[in-house]
C-alpha cells in the first residue's frame, strides 16, 4: 500500500509541478528566456514542489473554510428570516443537507483526474490499491478539517462536541455508503459516475435537498437535534455496509477503466465539438449560389452557407434586444414614477453597455468559423497568402462582421434614445445622438478588434487549437476591461464622446497595422 501511495503522490506532484512550469513557459516574454531543460532544472523542480504542496494543503483548508463560511452565512441569513430558532439548530440543519448535496457531486472514490488515468491505464498500477489509498487519504483530509471546524464551532457557537464528531462520522458514512451503492450497481452491469452517483435521480435529489435545506429553517422549523442525530446515525451505520462493500469489491480496474475512459471522451469531445459543430454548420442547400467573382464569390458563399452560425444568432439577439427595449419603453410610459430613475441611469450608466456590446459581439464566432471552415485549408495555398489577396479579403470580412454587429447595436442605440425621450428627455440634445451612436461605435470597435487580432496573431495551429499565449492574454484583458467598465458610472456625454472618438482612432490604427503586418502574421502556426 505504501508503495502505491508513494507512486500516487509522486505522479500527482510531477503532474502539478510540470503544469506550473508549462504555464510559466506560456507567458510571452518568459517563453523565450526559459530553456526547454526547465523541466529538469533542480531549482525550478523544488520551487514547483513547494508550490504543489502548498496547493495541496491550502486547497484542503480553504475549500473547507469556504464551505463552512457559506454554511455560517446561510445560517445568519435564515436567522434573520426566522428569529425564533437557535444558531446551532439552523447550522446543523444546513450542514446535514449540504453534506447530502455534496455527496451527490463528489464521492471521492471514482475521481477521474488525469494522474489517475496515467497511473491505472498507462502505468498499470494496482487499481484496487490506488483507489482505496486515495480514498482513505481524501477522507482523512476531510475528517481532520471537519474536526477542527467543529471544535471551533463548539467554542464559538456552542454546537455540542458529540454532535460535531457525529457529523464527521456521518459525512464519512454517507460518502462510503454511496460508494458501496455505486459498486453494487456496477456489479449489476450499470455504468457509474463518481460525480453523479444516482444518474437521472441525482439532479432531482439535489434540488429536493436544496429545497429541504432552505425551506424548513425559513419557516421556523429547522430539524431539531434529535432528528438530525437520527438521520446522521442511520447514514453512519450504512457507511459500515459501504465499507464492507469497498473491501470486498474486486472490480476496481474495470470500474476505473469505465469512468476514466468516459471522462476522457467527454474532455476530448468538448475540444472537438467546436470544430465538429462549425463543420456541421455548413448548409447543404443546393440553391445557394453566387454570381460574384474571386474573393467576393468566396465571401458570399461563406456567409450564405454559414447563415446558421452567423446571421441567425444576430437576428435572435436583435429580436431579444427589440423586445426588451419595447417592454422597457412601455413600462416607463405606464409607470411614470420610475421615469426619473431610468432617466438618471441612461445619463450615467452607458459604460455598462460596453460589457453588453462585448458579450453580444459576433466577432469571435465569426473568426472561429473563418478559421475552421475556410482559412485553415486555404492558407496552405500560396495564391491565398499573397499580401494583396490577404488585404482584399480582410477588407471584405471587416465589412461583413461590421454589418452583422451593427444590426443589434442599432436596435439597442435606438432603444436607449427612445427610452431617454419617454423618461423625460434631456437638456443636452446631443445625448440622444450619443445613446444612438455609442453602442454602434462600440460594435464597430469590437468587430475591428476581433478581426484585427485574428489577422495579426492568427492564434490557431493546424489542429485548430489556440497556440498563441499573447492572443489568450489579449482576449482576457479585453474581457477584464469591459467587466470593469460595467461597474463604473460616467456621464453619457463624456463617455459617449470618448468612446466614439476612441473607436475611430482604434479602427484607423488597427487597419493600418493589419495592412502593414498581416501578410507576415496571417499564417498557420506550425
Amino acid at each position: 500500500m505504501s508503495n502505491t501511495l508513494r507512486i500516487s503522490f509522486s505522479l500527482k506532484n510531477t503532474y502539478r509541478v510540470n503544469s506550473i512550469l508549462y504555464a510559466i513557459k506560456q507567458i510571452p516574454i518568459l517563453k523565450k528566456i526559459l530553456p526547454d531543460s526547465l523541466y529538469r532544472m533542480i531549482g525550478f523542480k523544488i520551487a514547483g514542489h513547494i508550490l504543489s504542496w502548498m496547493w495541496e494543503v491550502l486547497s484542503a483548508i480553504f475549500g473547507k473554510a469556504i464551505y463552512f463560511g457559506l454554511l455560517v452565512g446561510g445560517t445568519f441569513l435564515m436567522g434573520e428570516l426566522n428569529q425564533a430558532s437557535a444558531f446551532g439548530e439552523i447550522f446543523m440543519h444546513l450542514f446535514l443537507f449540504g453534506t447530502i448535496i455534496g455527496v451527490m457531486s463528489n464521492t471521492y472514490m471514482l475521481s477521474t483526474h488525469r494522474t489517475k488515468y496515467y497511473a491505472i491505464m498507462l502505468l498499470n498500477v494496482d487499481a484496487r490499491k490506488y483507489n482505496i489509498i486515495n480514498y482513505v487519504y481524501e477522507i482523512l483530509k476531510l475528517s481532520i478539517c471537519y474536526v477542527i471546524a467543529f471544535v471551533v464551532l463548539y467554542f464559538t457557537a456552542g454546537i455540542p462536541l458529540w454532535l460535531g464528531l457525529l457529523s464527521v462520522l456521518f459525512t464519512v458514512g454517507i460518502k462510503t455508503a454511496v460508494v458501496g451503492y455505486m459498486f453494487s450497481s456496477f456489479e449489476k452491469g450499470n455504468d457509474v459516475d463518481g460525480t453523479n452517483p444516482f444518474n437521472g435521480f441525482t439532479f432531482p435529489l439535489v434540488i429536493l435537498s436544496a429545497i429541504m435545506a432552505g425551506l424548513f429553517p425559513a419557516i421556523g422549523h429547522p430539524f431539531p437535534y434529535v432528528a438530525i442525530t437520527g438521520v446522521m446515525a442511520v447514514f453512519t451505520v450504512l457507511g459500515v455496509f459501504g465499507l464492507i462493500k469497498i473491501c470486498k469489491f474486486n472490480l476496481y480496474r474495470e470500474v476505473s477503466r469505465q469512468t476514466l475512459l468516459k471522462a476522457a471522451t467527454i474532455k476530448t469531445d468538448s475540444k472537438k465539438t467546436v470544430v465538429t459543430n462549425t463543420a456541421k454548420a455548413i448548409s447543404a442547400d443546393t440553391n445557394i449560389t453566387s454570381n460574384k467573382k474571386g474573393f467576393e464569390f468566396l465571401n458570399e458563399l461563406f456567409i450564405k452557407r454559414h447563415k446558421k452560425i452567423l446571421w441567425k444568432p444576430v437576428l435572435i439577439i436583435s429580436a431579444i434586444a427589440f423586445a426588451i427595449f419595447a417592454i422597457a419603453n412601455i413600462a416607463v410610459l405606464y409607470l411614470p414614477e420610475s421615469a426619473s430613475e431610468v432617466n438618471g441611469l441612461l445619463l450615467n450608466s452607458l459604460p455598462y453597455f460596453l460589457f453588453i456590446m462585448y458579450a453580444i459581439n459576433r466577432g469571435m464566432s465569426y473568426t472561429q468559423a473563418l478559421f475552421i471552415n475556410c482559412d485553415h485549408s486555404l492558407l496552405t495555398y500560396s495564391a491565398y497568402k499573397k499580401p494583396k489577396n490577404i488585404l482584399k479579403l480582410f477588407t471584405i470580412r471587416l465589412r461583413e462582421i461590421v454589418k452583422m454587429n451593427l444590426v443589434p447595436a442599432f436596435i439597442i442605440g435606438a432603444g436607449l434614445s427612445a427610452l431617454l425621450f419617454v423618461s423625460g428627455g434631456t437638456d443636452t440634445p446631443v445625448n440622444y445622438l450619443l445613446l444612438l451612436f455609442t453602442p454602434m461605435a462600440m460594435s464597430i470597435f469590437f468587430s475591428v478588434h476581433n478581426l484585427t487580432i485574428y489577422y495579426l496573431l492568427q492564434p490557431y495551429n493546424n489542429n485548430t487549437e489556440v497556440k498563441s499565449g499573447t492572443y489568450s492574454i489579449i482576449m482576457a484583458l479585453t474581457y477584464a476591461v469591459c467587466y470593469i467598465f460595467m461597474h463604473i458610472e460616467l456621464p453619457t456625454l463624456y463617455f459617449g464622446l470618448s468612446i466614439v472618438g476612441f473607436s475611430i482612432i482604434y479602427c484607423l490604427v488597427a487597419c493600418l497595422f493589419v495592412y502593414k503586418k498581416a501578410p507576415e502574421t496571417f499564417r498557420i502556426r506550425a
Binding site: P35, D36, A279, I282, A284, T286, K293, G294, F295, F297, L298, L301, F302, R305, H306, N373, C374, H376, S377, L378, T380, Y381, S382, A383, Y384, K385, K386, N389, R523, I524, A526
Partner: protein, 232 residues
Amino acid sequence: MNFKIEGLSKSFNKKNVLKDITFTFESGKIYGLLGRNGAGKTTLFNCLNKDMKFDSGKVSIEENFKERDLVAEDIGYVLSTPTVPEFLTGREFLKFFFDIHKKNLKEDKSIDEYFDFMSIDVRDRDKLLKDYSHGMKNKMQMLINIIAEPNILLLDEPLTSLDVVVAEEMKELLKGIKKDRIIIFSTHIMDLALDLCDEIVLLHNGELEIVDKENMGSVEFKEKIIAALKED
C-alpha cells in the same frame, strides 16, 4: 531553372534542426526527400513555403543565369492530410482559383477539362467538398496546386494515405507534370521514393545530402541509405 538554398538554418530553442543547408535543385526532376521521423522534413517544407521563419539563409530561383528571390507563387505545397474549404463545391473551389489566378494561367482549359484530367467523376463535381472522400480531397488539393503551375511543388507524404488506385494515378500524374518544374517529395517509404524519384536526397543531422544514384533500386543501395540515416 534552379532552386537554390543557401546557408539555411533553423533551430528550436537550442536544437539545430536545419544546419546551414546549401543545396541546388534542378528543374525537370522529382527529388525524393528521405529522412527519419523528426529529422526536420516538415520543418524544411514549412521554411521553404514561408510558413515558418528561418534563422538565417536565403532561398532563391535562378532563371536564365539571373537570380531572384522566391515569391509565394513559386511554390505549391501539398500536405499529407488534404485541406480543402469544405463549404465550397469542387466546381466552386476551382472557379475561385481560376478567378484569382486569371492572369497567371498559361493553359486555356475549362473547369470540366481539369476535372477530367484529374479523373473526378461528373456526379461529384457539384458536391460540397465536405462530402468528398479522402482520396478525392487529395486530388482536389493536388489539382489546385497544379493549376497555378508553380515552379516548385512540395509534397509532404502525399501518397501514404491513398488507396492503391488513386496512388498510382497520382504517381503517373507527377511523372507527367515534372517537366519545367521541381518536385520535392518527402516520404518515409523508401520503395516509393526509389520508384518515383529521379534523385534521392537525405535529410540527416540537419543537413541535405544527395545519394549517388548508381545501382538505384538494388538491395545494396537500400542498405547504403539505411546505413547513412543511422549514422550520428
